[in-house]
Amino acid sequence: MSETHYDANGLSPHCPWRKTGSVLGRRAWSPYAAGVLIGLLQIPAFLLVNTALGASSSFVTLSAHIASWFDAGAMDNAYFASHAAGGKNWWQVALVIGIALGAYVSARLSRTRRAAVAPVWEKATGIASFAPRAAMAFAGGFILLFGARIAGGCTSGHGVSGIAQLAVSSMITMAAMFAAGIAAAMLMRKV
């Protein structure tokens, strides 16, 4: 990339998304800068919340309350009850809502607009219309959370946080995740 020349707008022919302007307005940061920022979030997580960074148990907190709208006995379920209340549970729900807000602000600052469905799906699966892609996303989301709750964590809780704590369970879970993910992706068309 050493021969790359930027034009008057700070764009290069190789990376037309890269702007030389404000750091917050750039479309892409290196994965190393982004990874360090995410890793630094362990400091407030451990010191202020007394937990590790995670995302998947927030789905249990929310679904426990949704279940109790139509099932008066939902909170008799000890698993739902243990996720339904308290600072740590609502902290994680706020965290995932914050993720959506942070991503929205970041995309706005770089004027990045995304289609309703990413073009990768047509390339990988041939699915070009919204309804079948939405059904695929729903099924994927279901399997994602059912699996994460069996394992007791997701890419954040087991991956980023668990391996950083040298937990054997997290190393096994992430090995299984990548093995199954690679197998499933290899059945799709090359993207």
Partner: protein
């Protein structure tokens, strides 16, 4: 801490998390599927960088200040089956439980259906949990690499961090990160 202040803290930390996920492009379904097909390496680079950063931070917090760690208990069957389902779900949804919120924030509308599916999946697991409990609990407990090696946490954490950083440097040398994102920064290289 009060629930209210925990919610404010969660929103602030989440906003930083979501900002980093969007800037790093790791929330893009093309980056996730591309990683699983070994076409792009953005996801692995960010994932391993976040782990290496966490290892150094926790080596300091635990090794010098005695801050308590929270490793998850080992349940080999549940970890393998749950991890495999997680991997399948990641490829079908094009997201992890955290990054699907970044997709919603960035404007992908199918991510709302992944969220609905995720809530349904968590609810289904909650109802199934009493029946699954004998199988997903009762493993060998909170096994950690440092305890198995009989070394202090901070020593093994810093050694693994050094190993990961060396691996990342080699990976970056073979494949510069800017070559992996493509013209629309969504992981599609052509």
């Amino acid at each position: 801490m009060e629930v209210y202040s925990m919610v404010v803290l969660g929103l602030l930390m989440g906003a930083a998390f979501g900002f980093a996920l969007e800037k790093g492009r790791v929330f893009e379904p093309g980056v996730i599927v591309g990683q699983m097909q070994f076409r792009t390496f953005t996801m692995l680079k960010m994932f391993l960088t976040a782990i290496a950063t966490g290892l150094v931070i926790l080596a300091v917090l635990n090794g010098f200040w005695g801050v308590k760690l929270h490793p998850k208990a080992t349940e080999i069957g549940a970890d393998v089956v749950g991890g495999a389902l997680l991997g399948l779900g990641i490829v079908l949804a094009g997201a992890c439980p955290g990054t699907l919120f970044a997709q919603i924030g960035a404007g992908y509308r199918d991510a709302w259906f992944a969220l609905a599916g995720g809530l349904a999946g968590a609810m289904a697991f909650g109802y199934a949990q009493p029946a699954l409990k004998p199988w997903i609990t009762g493993g060998p407990g909170k096994l950690t690499l440092d305890a198995m090696l009989g070394l202090p946490f901070w020593v093994v954490a810093l050694m693994l961090a050094a190993l990961l950083i060396a691996g990342l440097a080699a990976l970056e040398h073979m494949r510069p990160w800017e070559d992996d994102l493509g013209p629309d920064a969504d992981g599609l290289r052509d």
